[in-house]
Amino acid sequence: MMLLKINNLCKSFGGLSAVLNFNLEIRENELIGLIGPNGAGKTTVFNLITGVYKPDAGEIIFKGENIGGLPPYVICQKGIARTFQNIRLFNNLTVMENVKIALHKNVPYSLPAALFRLNSFYRGEKEIEEEAIRWLKLFNLDHRREEIASSLPYGEQRRLEIARALATHPTLLILDEPAAGMNPNETLELMELIRRLRDEFKLAILLIEHDMSLVMGVCERIYVLDYGQVIAEGKPEEIRNNKRVIEAYLGEEV
């Protein structure tokens, strides 16, 4: 079944088109890559899908509903979660608190229950705590739980950000350069993790990545973006041999 369908999406900044007539389709449980030279508009596409930017034109149909232009928190509540290219953790808070904030979406008790410390608050907090620990264990961050997020090494910060995104229980996870700054070993582990997440949580995943080994290794279909437009789409091997793609990447230098 179709999970996300983007039709003729457009966005321009100060007269310059960042994204032009962009189309994309993601089925449930699919792993899609979005690649392209620097400045091709990939992150803009992500920002449009997650509501950080409002589209100028076009539709973003998620589970049969146009979510284009909705505020980010609504889009999150509908089941899309993301990470950021330049990690955006809550830097002064602990690892545990970072994940708990993501769990707020499904907070199991009411505001009065919190203010007056009703039983449901204690029960709910216990649930939240347990679930947060489950996520941290899954990402092997359990031992860091009381540490301040910004004090973590880079790779762990990336993992924490993915854990935090998953804690919102998305059906579509969007990863913006998850392997940036990782060594080959870490990248390999990440590939493994991405596959596992997809299978375990029945997720669709859309990712931007410059590391071709990761994209080619893990994605089932790939979209190539240049100057805000899709120039190619297909299976990894098709993309690898596509003339326009090669031109686009070579042309980047010119």
Partner: protein, 293 residues
């Protein structure tokens, strides 16, 4: 119609005063992102220096203004070195509280040494000439203060945009660490910023003192606040914005008093300001620089 013209003239001359103070405010803000709440009080000190220069040394008003500007430039640099520099890496709100402290310190040290009573500029410090143009009364001091505000804005804009110091200022404003790497002496640049900002405040102080005849140790609070509002209205950190903000505020207040109800003047003026901000959340000239994600 005649009355409206008169009110607009009134508004422009009141606005020029706000603009004059707002210029220094916005410049310091633009470079080091500090809301210098002591700016109005530096203005007060400038007014006092000017006053003593005229009344005790018997200088003319131009010399008095130069004295005041020099004294306040020095004062501004000292304030920056002593009170703000240690907080350069701290949160902005910590610096804001320090600025409130400096403001109180200047006010009450002045009261301690010079009593809280107002001082009066000697008659004839500025030979006043009233003109009546088609029924609209204007005095030469209105014109003087109006031209000064515009002139100072142009000079300031020129300094910031076109001189080497100005480029250093803008570099510091963008990124202090990068500026250091580019070989810019950040400390000196900030000192110069404060010196210019404080000298501007002093000039405004002397002009206001002469304009209204009287000065007192708490004279900086209200105009300081209004100037801050004017600077925010224009888009804080933007030099032409401060001037436009000042004029808008002046005209707004005048029109509320003239055609609305003066008892509600500040409420209506603030109400309109908030409305403008809701429409233009970063002030009239402010660019809505959305955070890069």
């Amino acid at each position: 119609m005649l009355e409206l013209m008169q009110q607009i003239v009134n508004g422009l001359s009141l606005g020029a005063i706000y603009a004059l103070i707002a210029l220094g405010y916005t410049m310091v803000y633009g470079i080091i992102k500090l809301i210098n709440f002591a700016h109005g009080d530096v203005m007060m000190v400038g007014a006092y220096v000017g006053f003593f220069s005229v009344s005790m040394l018997g200088t003319n008003i131009v010399v008095a203004m130069i004295f005041a500007m020099l004294a306040c430039a020095l004062l501004g640099v000292i304030i920056e070195k002593v009170a703000y520099k240690p907080l350069r890496r701290a949160t902005r709100i910590a610096a804001l509280i320090t600025a409130i402290g400096v403001s109180l310190f200047l006010e009450y040290t002045t009261i301690f040494f010079l009593t809280p009573q107002q001082r009066i500029f000697p008659q004839g410090t500025f030979p006043v000439q009233d003109y009546s143009l088609a029924g609209i009364s204007v005095s030469n001091k209105d014109i003087f203060i109006f031209i000064s505000a515009i002139l100072l804005m142009v000079i300031l804009q020129f300094i910031v945009k076109n001189t080497k110091t100005g480029k250093a200022m803008r570099a510091v404003s963008e990124d202090k660490d990068a500026a250091v790497l580019m070989g810019i002496n950040v400390d000196n640049t900030i000192s110069v910023t404060f010196a210019i900002g404080s000298a501007l405040a002093a000039a405004a102080g002397v002009m206001i003192g002469v304009y209204y005849n009287t000065i007192n140790p708490l004279m900086g609070i209200l105009p300081g606040l209004k100037a801050f509002v004017a600077a925010v209205l224009g888009g804080i950190g933007i030099i032409p914005g401060a001037m436009v903000g000042g004029f808008i505020l002046g005209i707004l207040e005048t029109l509320v008093s003239g055609y609305g109800n003066s008892l509600y003047r500040d409420a209506v003026a603030f109400g309109i300001l908030i409305l403008i901000l809701l429409i233009k959340p970063t002030g009239i000239f402010g660019k809505n620089t959305g955070e890069k994600v």
